[in-house]
């Protein structure tokens, strides 16, 4: 692989990302899947980078899952999104930061639709006004939260306590990056690095000391793909997609996987458990899996945040071997302690996948 070839492509796919004052819209599902990720993002933005970020409480789903599953019509989707933009306008912001990749893709799709069909925008403005009495400005800048972390990746690296480096050997960790389909596959020029060789996560990995792995099934779907999972009969396909990726990356012995989508870390993490129970197969050394993280969690880890405060105990594939490899300290006894030391109980132990309870 010739890195310079990728660098040429990356130069072509750069985009403007606002420097400050963000209106942040959270994801419907990320807070359940990986509850620490969004909190880490807000903390890093505010406390580490000193940015102004408005964490909106009143926004709704963007309808993305329903839209892509063909149960929400596009006019409804556009009107719901117009309401999100109205909330941004009312809060006095112009830079929209989406936590979810599908939302980001859908906002982009709606803005592009309005650009090409202004009559649609006018109609949606009317719908929104009639339904809610609200009006809105379109965002001056639309970014996915991973774009923003990418923008400040070097500042984060400068403040970080740890690097993505094996503390014993000094070698960079081997990292698989996986981009959500809706980040740039629909609109390659709206994503850092484009659709074929996205750079948004690779840039973070490089800046934070790791080494990116390019493996044959890199572009393959994680296995979420709404119709693959939401339609119960297709779940076998969902699992096969993830398995195909694990089998393809396994020879490279990756230390971790980083993702920027709500669904990808969920499926790449949980399906490792399912596969281990079905086939007794694990993809890491010594019955460990390959730990899967959101980019915010990785940023939090290298900043030295307590792994349990950023929610790493909620991963199916245990993070401990990786934390040990980097040298990030953690208290095994407080892994399953909730707020104020409340004992949350220990989850059931998998049959094959190694589990660290104390």
């Amino acid at each position: 692989m010739k890195l310079e070839g990728k660098r040429l492509i990356w130069q072509e796919y750069q985009k403007e990302i606002a420097d400050d004052h963000y209106f942040y819209a959270r994801s419907c599902i990320r807070q359940t899947f990986f509850p620490g990720a969004e909190a880490v993002f807000v903390k890093i933005m505010k406390d580490e980078l000193g940015k102004d970020i408005h964490d909106e409480q009143h926004h709704t789903s963007c309808t993305g899952i329903g839209y892509h599953a063909d149960v929400v019509p596009f006019d409804t989707t556009m009107t719901v999104i117009a309401r999100q933009f109205a909330l941004m306008t009312e809060a006095g912001y112009e830079n929209y930061a989406a936590s979810c990749v599908t939302s980001f893709g859908l906002y982009t799709e709606v803005l592009e639709t309005w650009h090409h069909f202004p009559e649609k925008e006018a109609q949606v403005r009317e719908f929104l006004y009639k339904a809610t009495g609200r009006e809105f400005n379109k965002p001056k800048n639309l970014a996915h939260a991973s774009d923003i972390v990418y923008k400040f990746r070097h500042q984060i690296a400068a403040k970080a306590k740890y690097k993505l480096i094996d503390k014993n050997t000094g070698e960079p960790l081997k990292v698989v990056e996986h981009i959500g389909c809706h980040y740039s596959k629909m609109f390659p020029h709206k994503g850092i690095g484009g659709a074929e060789y996205p750079y948004v996560l690779s840039g973070m990995i490089e800046a934070w000391g790791g080494e990116v792995i390019d493996y044959p099934e890199r572009r393959h779907c994680c296995g979420f793909g709404f119709r693959q999972y939401i339609v119960q009969a297709n779940r076998g396909f969902s699992l096969s997609c993830s398995k195909k990726k694990f089998d393809s990356m396994e020879p490279y012995q990756p230390d971790m996987i980083i993702t920027n989508c709500p669904g990808c870390p969920m499926f790449l993490d949980r399906w490792q458990y399912a596969l281990s129970e079905m086939e007794g197969k694990t993809y890491g050394k010594n019955n460990n899996g390959i730990p899967v993280f959101t980019y915010e969690e990785v940023a939090g880890m290298i900043m030295g945040y307590d792994p349990w405060k950023i929610g790493l105990q909620l991963h199916q594939v245990s993070a401990e071997p990786l934390l040990d490899k980097i040298g990030i300290p953690y208290d095994p006894l407080s892994k399953f302690k909730g707020k104020n030391g409340e004992d949350l109980g220990i989850p059931e132990t998998p049959n094959y996948l190694k589990f660290y309870a104390d």
Binding site: K2, L8, A195, Y197, R218, P251
Partner: protein, 338 residues
Amino acid sequence: MQKHIVVIGAGPAGLESSANLSNLGFRVTLVEKEEVTGGHLNKWHALFPSLASGKHTIEAIVKGLNPGIKIQTATKVTGIEAVNDYFTVSGHNGWQEKADAVVLTTGFQLFDSHRKEEYGYGIYENVITSADLEKQFASGKEFVNRQGKKPERVGFVHCVGSRDEKVNNLHCSKVCCITAVKQAIEVKQMIPEADVFCFYMDLRMFGRHYEELYKQAQEKYNIQFIRGRLSESTEDKDGNIIVKVEDTLLGKPLRIKVGLLVLMAGMEFPPATKALTNMLGLKNVSDGFIQPLDEVLHSNLTEIPGVFIAGTCSGPKSVSDTMADARSAALAVAEYLK
């Protein structure tokens, strides 16, 4: 007084037009931006369907040039101006000539395969273009991939940059199908044990002996023709290329590992030449190539009296069609200057 014609571009079309115009008694200046004449043919090892050497073909054309033809190389034409009944043609280096007629034989540029990002050209070492393969053939070296290994499997991807809306090229480049057949046979001749696959949309074997060569490729050389477009290529740990393609005849998706993947890069109108056509006010139609006055009756004439076109500047052509077009252009010029 002997009429003077400036021919712009010294590939096969320019050379052949110049030879014919000179033989018809005109004074000819042939101007070329490169140091040498011959154009793309200089880099082409062998021509379909006869496997004639590209170099020898050019040498034969050049040999036929009348010594009276003035060849002005290393000169990039930067201006053409119609003044009364003649043209002033000038180059970047101060060169300037008056001409009674101008023949544009500016040719094509090879599609930049980097633009098909999903195929990995410029990123994966064993993804090369048809032009790279010709260079490799011409080097006379042992046929190996970038890891120095004889590839056990070689794939050819047809229509790279042609008939592809994604790169805004709807036109067929005409020569790539038969070039792939030719190159696939050459690979099989060098490595008989290799499995060779051609991934195509449909095969356009329009020329004389093309169909025979295609048949030979299947029957004699056992080259596998798979009807389907590639969706992507990636690289494995050993530098092999993994291609994903649909076999549309079987209705099945395939994943095939090859040691070398060759992209059949198509023809495009060179943006650098666009400046010249703009200067003259010529029409470049939707495919980018120059529009003749009439595609059937006056294929070498343009809307500007005294400005003629020949070769691939008016659309993709094989070398033999280019040569015929160049001769036809010479006659059209003679008719005009009569």
